[in-house]
């Protein structure tokens, strides 16, 4: 055998960019966190909203190394946008991310054969690879003996036994990362003879027409024959026409003689892996027999009856925590904002600038930042459920229900997240494989009552039910009714879309249920902080800008001094818009003042409350509860020009229903635009949701009015 080829190593410093790849649930993120700690940057790949995580770690000699954590995948033949990004980065197809110098493959040692499939594809790339056998501790407990040195010898690349959760093997890994020269794998496998001519023809074309280096071209040729270039995402360099022609030619030819070449390729790889693992994995005689701990837990958790009970308890705990524990830090944020406002008041003399900063910028941003605790608690729960392995079970339980409306269990997670805020919910839809199912999930997610609607519901319920006389029961009932309405709306429209507009194949769910593990608190907290940070960043930019714009609209133009009898609000842009809107909303029983609230709600729904405060001239007090009580009394006292009450019970109820269904959130529209890469879907969503809200409210008001309410 020839000596293994080594990478030319002219530079003293080790190669600086490593990509971290592996199957889902192989402990890759834990390893990434262990190597990089807080030195991480989270963003997006331009054009697609796949999370891009880059971190820095250091060699034994203190040189910085860049580590890219690529989304988990089972194969380079991508089925979802996440997986497509992993494939494109490794193949050097993305202009925004240079091809990594070296690759760290993380595999779950307890399931070596399946995990080696991806490694096998990656070795074809002909890049320097370090193989990390993670979860060795779990494998040993299960009685598996893995001969690491033998595997290292066969593959010819560094193989490191590791348990990222306890830090075992990290030093060895760092030593390997620090090496200036890394051998290339000497592993070879036989491409099935029937496919070989196609591979070489495609490879030649990729080299000549797409400027690919020979080994990458061979790997890409193999890949094109299995994934037919089906999942393409923005930012990925397209194939040349000639290569596509050749691919098409071979596809037609095989289709004609009925060869299942894709299956042949997968089987050939598994055969090769089988030969590889036969010598290196042995099961000890001390291996535990009988059902494992995960099996015993699953017997309860996936049980047709108990499974639902456990699911219900967990969901109830989560929502109770969001609505109770969050109250404390929300109070802190309020008092902090009050302090800042007071400080600014002292610095800036009363006047236009003072009002702009206090009423426009500060209170606008506060209206959004106030929800940070709730969002953090939601992320904490989602993180805990994910890292223990329960989330996959929840999706499994929900799959049956979701399949009734044509979606699969994976859509459950985004919809659940949307109860806190549609934005993280919509972002969570990325893991859904079928593009149509993903789109339907995104389209209906904003129906789930988000936490921004909560203050509006609270205010209107307070105005509706005189709390001095009525026990708390009916209030909670009305609140639950609103949440239920939104949920039914989401499911109903999902069903409708899957039947009509986005008719597609029935949902196809293939999902691995990872073994139960104790949650990795550090990883959960890191993720929570990262996602919370993105939320704060948005509040600091988009929402700040919008708040200032809205303030101007509500305050300008000023009433000329010679017409003191004119109402300044009515004269302002917002007031005029409210008047302009009145003919449209009058059939729902809303007047122009409510119209202003509806328009302002586009910045964030809870702005309705402060808009009502401004319109009905309620004095702000430091205490939210007290302000709401004042506001409630002001709403109850509000009258129409003819002297009748404006906020009758029917109007309060109708307004709540409008908030349940209408799409009134610019941030959500912006996120949907980014996720779907077009203006078409967010505008459609705006139209259908608001239109539906209008029709339902029209019905309620007209029927209610006729009945004499």
């Amino acid at each position: 055998m020839n000596p293994p080829p080594t990478q030319p190593a002219p530079a003293r410093a080790p190669a600086s960019v490593y990509a971290l790849v592996g199957n889902p649930n192989c402990g890759k993120s834990t390893l990434f966190n262990a190597l990089t700690g807080l030195k991480q940057k989270v963003g997006n790949y331009p054009g697609v909203t796949v999370e891009r995580k880059v971190g820095t770690t250091y060699t034994q000699h203190g040189h910085p190394l860049t580590l890219i954590d690529l989304p988990g995948t089972y194969s380079l033949a991508a089925r979802s946008p996440d997986e497509a990004v992993t494939r494109d980065v490794l193949l050097g197809r993305r202009a925004d991310t240079a091809m990594p110098d070296r690759i760290v493959c993380v595999v779950d040692a307890t399931n070596l054969e399946r995990n080696l499939y991806l490694v096998h594809q990656i070795l074809d790339l002909g890049r320097p690879v370090i193989l990390v056998l993670n979860m060795m501790d779990v494998a040993e407990q299960a009685g598996l003996k893995i001969h690491t040195s033998r595997l290292e010898h066969i593959l010819g690349i560094p193989v490191i036994a590791c348990a990222a959760s306890s830090g075992r093997g990290l030093i060895d890994l760092k030593l390997a990362l620090s090496r200036t020269d890394l051998p290339l794998s000497r592993h070879a496998w036989d491409i099935p003879p029937a496919i070989a001519p196609a591979v070489s023809e495609l490879q030649a074309s990729l080299q000549d027409n797409d400027d690919k280096p020979p080994l990458i071209a061979r790997a890409e040729a193999l890949l094109l024959l299995t994934d037919q270039d089906s999942v393409r995402v923005a930012g990925s360099t397209p194939l040349s026409a000639r290569t596509r022609e050749i691919l098409q030619h071979w596809e037609n030819r095989w289709a004609a003689d009925g060869t299942d070449w894709a299956a042949a390729l997968v089987n050939a790889r598994y055969d090769s892996i089988g030969l590889l693992t036969a010598d290196i994995v042995s099961t000890a005689s001390t291996a535990p027999v009988g059902p494992s701990r995960s099996d015993r837990i699953d017997a309860w958790v996936t049980h047709p009856v108990w499974g639902w009970c456990i699911f219900g308890v967990i969901m109830a705990t989560m929502f109770l925590s969001i609505f109770t524990f969050a109250g404390i830090p929300m109070g802190w944020i309020e008092s902090l904002v009050a302090t800042i406002s007071a400080g600014v008041s002292d610095l800036i003399p009363p006047g236009e600038l003072h009002d702009l900063i206090i009423d426009g910028a500060i209170s606008g941003v506060e209206g959004v930042i106030i929800f940070l605790p709730q969002i953090l608690i939601l992320f904490l729960f989602i993180g805990l459920l994910e890292s223990t392995g329960y989330m996959a079970r929840a999706a499994f339980i929900m799959d049956r229900l979701m399949s009734k409306v044509g979606l699969n269990g994976r859509s459950f997670i985004p919809l659940l997240g949307s109860y806190a805020c549609a934005i993280p919910g919509i972002m969570a839809a990325r893991t859904i494989e079928q593009p149509k199912d993903r789109l339907v999930t995104i389209l209906v997610a904003p129906f789930m009552s988000c936490s921004a609607r909560l203050p509006v519901y609270l205010l209107l319920i307070a105005a509706l039910v005189p709390e001095e006389q009525v026990p708390v029961g009916p209030k909670i009932l009305i609140m639950l009714l609103m949440y239920a309405l939104g949920t039914f709306g989401a499911f109903g429209f999902a069903w409708l879309f899957k039947k009509t507009l986005l008719r597609g194949a029935p949902p196809l769910m293939i999902m691995e249920l990872p073994p139960y593990r104790l949650p990795r608190i550090r990883d959960v907290l890191l993720q929570m902080i990262e996602r919370g940070g993105l939320f704060v960043k948005r509040a600091g930019t988009i929402i700040l800008g919008l708040s200032i714009v809205l303030w101007f609209l509500a305050n300008y133009p000023k009433v000329p001094e010679n017409q003191p009898e004119v109402d300044p609000l009515s004269y302002s842009m917002a007031g005029r818009a409210g008047h302009a809107l009145e003919p449209v909303i009058a059939p729902l029983g809303f007047d122009w003042r409510i119209g202003i609230g509806l328009i302002q709600s586009f910045a964030a729904r809870e702005v309705f409350n402060s808009a009502m405060g401004v319109i009905f001239a309620v004095e702000e007090t430091g205490d939210e509860e007290e302000t709401r009580t004042h506001l409630r009394d002001a709403l109850r006292a509000a009258e129409r020009p003819d002297g009748s009450k404006l906020f009758t019970p029917l109007i309060c109820l109708n307004l709540m229903v409008f908030y349940v269904f209408a799409m009134q959130c610019i941030s959500t529209i912006a996120v949907v635009k980014r996720e779907t890469n077009s203006w078409r879907w967010p505008l459609f969503q705006l139209g259908y949701m608001t239109g539906f809200a209008w029709f339902v409210c029209l019905l309620i008001y007209q029927v209610g009015h006729t009945l004499g309410y």
């Binding site: 997968v266 996936t302 699969n408």
Partner: protein, 84 residues
């Protein structure tokens, strides 16, 4: 292939495999990308699957891994019963 009916094991879609039984994968049909992913995850021909639970969505054990399969996928996996 052995055509003696006495030696043939009963074949059925994975959806009809009784809970608790084990089966060997005989054939995969259906959409190409789904078959590809099933094979890559270990559901290749001759793999042994144990059905753990589920009515419409199934829970299966295949090479030390627990996988949830939607009905639309499981219908396209033909297995032969090897252990009831």
């Amino acid at each position: 292939m052995n055509t003696d009916p006495r030696l043939q094991r009963p074949r059925m879609p994975l959806t009809e495999l009784p809970t608790g039984a084990a089966g060997r994968v005989c054939a995969l049909d259906g959409a190409a990308d789904v078959c590809q992913r099933l094979r890559e995850m270990g559901f290749c021909e001759s793999a042994i699957i144990q059905k753990i639970s589920g009515h419409s969505t199934l829970l299966c054990q295949v090479c030390d891994m627990r996988v949830a399969l939607g009905e639309g996928v499981a219908r396209h996996v033909t297995v032969e019963l090897i252990r009831g």
